[in-house]
């Protein structure tokens, strides 16, 4: 029972991080038909912005985090949209897939070349103690991650549903043509989704890097999980990404503990194949109205 609780908490924590990566992925797809194959690298990079700020700028960790966030918004949000997506998206989805694959390679190699090839420790913004809940020992770090992820997602949902801009973004996602006619500044709404994605991946980066260390190869696994989470949950709904992320985090931990550590990565993949073939709209999603 104690094990179960530990695994569950750890699973939800990992799941929370996956969810953050998956939500951004889904938002980009919904509003601009962008499939970002570099999403994993997007989660890897912000940590290095922070480390670079501390190393080269000599600033303190909190300041470095702010700088890291700002640079992420600029590079992974604005520049990504203007320089990578906009020129290519008019040619169709496949060229953009290629472009983001190339971008993933670029980011990975750039970090490896210009910062470091080996894993870098990343400071945690909170205590790394363990708490005892009953007979279970639960890492405080995991609890903090869950808390932060929940708050972030909560804020995002509030923003999307309760604010005017958020609802405009939803309108843009559902029907850009109509949104334009209604006077919604569609281009700006799309830019906002890119910025939100940048913020989410930065947050995910800050949460995951203290545990797994910052390494240029982190993007590979994270990217795959983001895709799987998004699709299994439901590719056209933010809710789907949350469900998918949490589900995958929990499954991953339980499979590794009780079934097979070697094939832990296989379960999400099976799930993905089954979901795509049997229920492409995902567990929570609506059937895709747009024809692709």
């Amino acid at each position: 029972m104690a094990d179960f609780l530990q695994l569950l908490v750890a699973g939800l924590a990992t799941g929370g991080i996956y969810a953050l990566a998956a939500i951004g992925f889904v938002l980009l797809w919904q509003t601009s038909q962008t499939i970002n194959f570099a999403q994993g690298e997007f989660v890897m990079v912000p940590a290095f912005f922070v480390l670079a700020a501390m190393k080269l700028g000599g600033v303190s960790f909190p300041v470095a985090m702010l700088i890291g966030l700002a640079v992420s918004l600029l590079v992974l949000g604005l520049l990504f949209k203007r320089l990578v997506v906009d020129p290519v998206i008019r040619h169709g989805v496949l060229p953009l897939v290629i472009s983001t694959i190339a971008l993933a390679i670029f980011l990975k190699e750039a970090v490896k070349e210009f910062y470091a090839a080996d894993a870098q420790p990343f400071p945690a913004a909170w205590a790394t103690t363990n708490l005892a809940i009953g007979s279970a020992v639960v890492s405080a770090q995991n609890l903090v991650i869950i808390l932060v992820a929940v708050v972030a997602v909560g804020l995002l949902q509030y923003f999307l549903n309760a604010t005017r801009t958020g609802r405009r973004m939803q309108a843009t996602a559902q029907n850009p043509g109509l949104a334009r006619i209604l006077g919604i500044p569609v281009e700006r709404m799309i830019l906002y989704t890119f910025l939100i994605n940048a913020a989410l991946v930065a947050l995910a980066s800050f949460l995951v890097s203290p545990i797994y260390l910052a390494k240029f190869t982190n993007g590979e696994t994270l990217g795959l999980v983001a895709f799987v989470a998004a699709i299994v949950g439901g590719f056209n709904q933010v809710r789907g990404a949350i469900v998918g992320g949490l589900l995958l985090g929990v499954i991953d931990n339980f499979v590794a503990a009780y079934l097979s550590a070697q094939y832990r990565a296989a379960i999400p993949l099976f799930l993905l194949i089954v979901v795509i073939l049997v229920r492409p709209q995902g567990l929570v999603g609506r059937a895709e109205e747009r024809t692709v």
Partner: protein, 328 residues
């Protein structure tokens, strides 16, 4: 303004002459690179068939190269001749590729990309985990090079010519396939599956066939790869290779016959030419791809075509099929 037939023949002959003469002026590593180029071209030709001609996106080609390589490694280290590996790997890849085509009947484009990506990762996991068969991360060493009718391919130059020979055969077969009624049907499948169906093209059969043949070529490439590097381990066949092959096809020009040749050349040989930039070559390659895709999604050959006849309609061949010309 098409290039006159004679000029094409001369250019082709010159290229072949170059390929035959090249190894004699190169060190062993250079010859290895040329052989690697030949092997990757074969895999890329397969992917070009599935993606470029039939319009089906597959991120699983590396898995078939892996299947081919391990088949060859396991058989030849047990003393079986390489041709048995060719037969088995081709058959295996064909069948598995056919099965992989079924998801393609249900979903398209990005969903298909993810399904094939998952499949590729699963194959990688199996290769890595099933140590009793594949020796897992330790890999298989001492893969021998074959003897073709008494001619030993042990030396780099000899093995290069062996690869070149296989590439020539594969190219000829693919050329014939593309020019046959099947080639026409594949193009129809890519351009306009609805119309294709209405004129009698069995889109189901042809989709599965495109996957099967493309994958079989991946397997053949793998069978050559094993004796080339003589030591294989699972990470060589991970997703990175699938992405790399995809980039080769797109950079060269999807749907063009010479695309894979060019794309593989850029991908395999560019790092060497950019050696002087040390670690930067991958970064430069990535930037190059991003710019190329934005400027000309039909790849380098598409770019060359556009420069040759600027007035004609440049329809991006790698774009998903569109509704004729009358769509509102």
């Amino acid at each position: 303004m098409k290039i006159p037939h004679r000029a094409r023949v001369v250019a082709g002959a010159a290229a072949v002459a170059l390929l035959v003469a090249a190894p004699f002026g190169l060190k062993p590593y250079g010859i290895y690179l040329l052989s690697l180029w030949a092997v990757m071209t074969i895999a890329a030709i397969g992917l070009n068939l599935t993606l470029g001609y039939a319009g089906q996106i597959s991120l699983a080609q590396a898995a078939f190269v892996g299947i081919g390589a391990y088949t060859a490694a396991l058989l030849t280290t047990q003393g079986w001749p390489l041709w048995t590996a060719f037969v088995l790997a081709t058959a295996l890849s064909f069948v598995i590729g056919w099965l992989l085509g079924y998801p393609a009947l249900r979903v398209q484009h990005h969903y298909l990309a993810f399904v094939t990506l998952s499949f590729a990762t699963l194959v990688f996991l199996i290769l890595r985990n099933e140590e009793w068969l594949t020796k897992g991360v330790y890999g298989i060493t001492g893969i021998p090079r074959p003897s073709v009718l008494g001619w030993s391919t042990q030396a780099p130059v000899d093995f290069y010519f062996f690869c070149l020979g296989v590439l020539a055969l594969v190219s000829a077969a693919t050329w014939w396939l593309i020019r046959s009624p099947w080639g026409r049907a594949f193009t129809a499948l890519r351009e306009n599956p609805i119309r294709a169906s209405s004129v009698g093209v069995d889109t189901r059969r042809y989709t599965l066939m495109a996957f099967a043949i493309g994958s079989a070529l991946g397997g053949i490439a793998g069978v050559l790869y094993a004796p080339l590097v003589q030591f294989i381990e699972p990470t060589a066949f991970a997703l990175a290779l699938s992405f790399s092959l995809l980039l080769m096809v797109i950079v060269g020009g999807a749907g063009y016959f010479l695309g894979p040749f060019l794309g593989a050349a850029v991908s395999v040989l560019l790092p060497e030419w950019l050696r002087f930039t040390e670690g930067l070559y991958l970064i430069l390659y990535a930037l190059f791809v991003m710019v190329l895709v934005a400027v000309c999604p039909s790849g380098l050959i598409g770019l060359a075509e556009r420069l040759r006849k600027p007035a004609s309609i440049a329809l991006p061949e790698s774009a998903p099929p569109r509704d004729g010309n009358g769509s509102p």
